[in-house]
Symmetry: C2
Subunit: 71 residues, 2 copies
């Protein structure tokens, strides 16, 4: 059981890392995360932990009209 949980957590880290990496250059994904976070992330500890990240995504979207250094 503990082994299964640790595998699942590892998978969440990998998938989460992929989406957060994609969100940096893909506004659509950033927007999707922002739109779904409030309904899907409800545990107070999680909400608190995720807030700085959501703020970062919001800022990135606002400044999206500026120059783009991505390849």
């Amino acid at each position: 059981m503990a082994k299964k949980n640790s595998l699942e957590t590892g998978q969440k880290v990998i998938i989460g890392g992929m989406f957060l990496s994609l969100a940096k250059t893909n506004t659509g994904i950033a927007k999707f995360i922002l739109e779904n976070a409030s309904t899907h992330i409800t545990r107070p500890a999680d909400v608190k932990r995720i807030e700085p990240l959501l703020e970062e995504l919001r800022q990135a979207m606002v400044s999206d009209t500026g120059e783009d250094n991505s390849v």
Copy 2:
């Protein structure tokens, strides 16, 4: 530094958990994960760890024509 890393890991777990939860009922997200995993998840240890999950998503998409018990 360690504190920052642990915060980032925690955020990845939360975001990853959200997407994996969404993928169970949203074929579009399952498809997106499958399509992007091979290019974004390249560390051998990560590839190995994520493989059972990708297989699960593939199976879910194949059986997507069957009955749907989601609300």
